[in-house]
């Protein structure tokens, strides 16, 4: 029974994180940019979405969509730091991530009645419904509710995936891919690769924020510390997805990344079963990530040479 509940939980969280992973797929896989700012934009999305619902009465689904723009703006900052001010890619991400720690903390003041900063704001304390608290969800038994939540998340994730797939087929999408693969060609085509980097980072962090908003809905609370470890989680999801699932014929990278996020979240949740106090969770997490990286290397070594055409060439 516990195992069953853990699995269901893991899948829900997995779909939530899939949105984040799809964003990081854009920055990491397509633009070849290891973007650490997602650690900051994830909680940013959560707090912006919560404020919009609580203070402006914006419907949950719209508030979630709007949180995209908060992440988008933060991504633009990361991009501008790197492209215009020539800060290295890792440091640009670290700068934005650090700055956002204060921004999100300042924003939580808007959530509490007395204007204090809190690290956790519970939706129930202000009888805020969120995306999954409404009648549709509560009128059924709790067993059914979990499946409805899962279904809604699935619809959202698939919609985002299809949107990204479509985008990557456009001229703009091609330029993004070209920027990650061969910047000099983009210059030859008369365009500034820096602009595409900024755009890609903005979109990636937009999705990170949406993911953070969904995460808040899922737990009926906004947690200011929810960003920590999201880079690792997202990278692990993307790498599992690309190495394991993308190899299967007819599975697009975006689909593979979703599977990757689901698998990784499940693994994390099962780790909680083992480590009930949660003390070693981050350590286990790090070990798991290392295993994935090593496995990724091995797989590449074994499979290179007879790679399917579909896998294309990766540097």
């Amino acid at each position: 029974m516990l195992f069953y509940a853990t699995t269901l939980d893991g899948l829900q969280m997995g779909l939530c994180f899939a949105v984040l992973a799809l964003g990081v797929y854009i920055s990491y896989s397509i633009l070849d940019f290891p973007d650490l700012s997602v650690d900051g934009t994830f909680p940013l999305g959560g707090v912006v979405c919560t404020i919009l619902m609580l203070k402006a009465g914006v419907p949950a689904i719209l508030a979630t969509a709007l949180s995209f723009f908060a992440g988008f703006m933060a991504g633009v900052v990361t991009g501008v730091l790197h492209v215009k001010l020539k800060v290295s890619n890792l440091l640009s991400g670290i700068i934005v991530m650090t700055a956002l720690l204060s921004v999100t903390l300042a924003l939580t003041k808007l959530l509490t009645r007395n204007g204090q900063t809190t690290s956790i704001f519970s939706y129930r304390s202000e009888s805020l419904d969120g995306l999954f608290g409404g009648k549709l969800f509560s009128s059924h038994g709790s067993g059914v509710k979990d499946y409805i939540v899962l279904g809604v998340l699935l619809v959202i994730v698939i919609a985002i995936k299809l949107l990204i797939d479509l985008f990557l087929k456009t001229k703009l999408g091609y330029m993004l891919k070209a920027t990650g693969d061969n910047e000099r060609l983009v210059v030859s085509l008369g365009k500034d690769p820096g602009m595409y980097k900024i755009l890609g980072l903005a979109v990636a962090n937009g999705f990170s924020a949406v993911s953070g908003a969904l995460y808040s809905h899922l737990f009926m609370q906004y947690d200011n510390t929810s960003g920590s470890g999201k880079v690792v989680l997202a990278l692990a999801s993307v790498i599992i997805g690309i190495t394991v699932f993308s190899r299967i014929r007819f599975i697009k990278d975006t689909t593979a990344v979703i599977f990757g996020a689901a698998v990784y979240s499940l693994c994390l949740n099962y780790l909680v079963l083992v480590d009930t106090n949660g003390i070693y969770l981050k350590l286990l997490n790090a070990v798991l990530f290392t295993l994935i990286l090593v496995f990724n290397d091995r797989m590449n070594a074994v499979i290179s040479g007879k790679t399917k055409m579909k896998r294309r060439v990766r540097r």
Binding site: K171, L172, Y174, R184, L185, S188, G190, R312
Partner: protein, 257 residues
């Protein structure tokens, strides 16, 4: 067409590695000219092309294109008028994209890269015919990622991509150097064809003295950031590969190697 006036270029200024390459260097190319540049390693040929294309900043002087001062213009804006093929075949294409996708990208140059679909299947036939003319068998590989093609095949593709849309100037930097002799010959002939058809102005750097003598209508030899030999169209017709080789060797001996 291209005019370099009184160019100064210093690398690593103010350090022990300071290297003054160009000191008041001037050079101009008229519209429709095909200039071949030869010269020993480190003589400044690539740097010259980089200055024309805007890939590196200069310390003094000005660059004109079509009479317009482009000294302050960034590289990607200049690229709208200037095509370039590099020595390394992988620079001119996107390795993870297919031939069809690469050609589609290149064909859109000059227009906005918007949210329209990138690959227009109706143009596929046209692209196929373009690569068919190369005779490298690429027409059957339209959906294969360019990264899996050979260097020569990629270089041929780069050549086509950089000249697909109207440009004024074509810069070639040892673009046959990484290829086997037969493929190099093919690419060189293709270059000549494209240049003649589109009436391009060309600056070609090469270490192949025969190409330098055979192709183009001007020849320049560079050494230590200076032009040490200049043959115009008439003089060039009278020049043989051996003549150039002698001069080349003389300069090298003066340098003590």
């Amino acid at each position: 067409m291209i005019e370099l006036k009184n160019i100064y270029k210093v690398f690593n200024a103010g350090t022990v590695n300071e290297m003054r390459l160009f000191n008041g260097f001037s050079f101009d190319v008229k519209a429709g000219e095909f200039v071949s540049i030869v010269g020993s390693n480190g003589s400044g040929k690539t740097t010259l092309l980089n200055i024309i294309s805007g890939s590196i900043p200069i310390n003094g002087g000005s660059v004109y294109l079509n009479g317009m001062d482009i000294t302050e213009m960034s590289e990607h804006i200049r690229a709208r008028k200037i095509g370039r093929v590099f020595q390394d075949p992988s620079v001119g294409t996107v390795p993870s994209m297919t031939i069809l996708e690469n050609l589609s990208l290149a064909e859109n140059k000059g227009k906005p890269y918007s949210l329209g679909l990138a690959v227009n299947r109706r143009k596929c036939e046209m692209f196929r015919e373009t690569v068919l003319k190369l005779g490298l068998g690429l027409e059957d590989k339209m959906d294969i990622p360019v990264g899996l093609l050979s260097g020569g095949q990629r270089q041929a593709l780069s050549m086509i991509m950089s000249t697909m849309t109207p440009i004024d100037v074509l810069l070639l930097d040892e673009h046959t150097a990484a290829l086997d002799p037969r493929t190099a010959e093919t690419i060189m002939q293709l270059t000549d064809e494209i240049v003649k058809k589109n009436r391009l102005t060309v600056v070609m750097v090469t270490h192949n003295l025969r190409y330098a003598v055979e192709y183009g209508n001007r020849l320049i030899m560079m050494d230590k950031g200076q032009i040490v030999l200049h043959k115009n169209a008439e003089e060039k017709k009278e020049t043989s590969v051996d003549d150039i080789l002698h001069i080349f060797n003389d300069i090298s001996i003066e340098c003590g190697n």
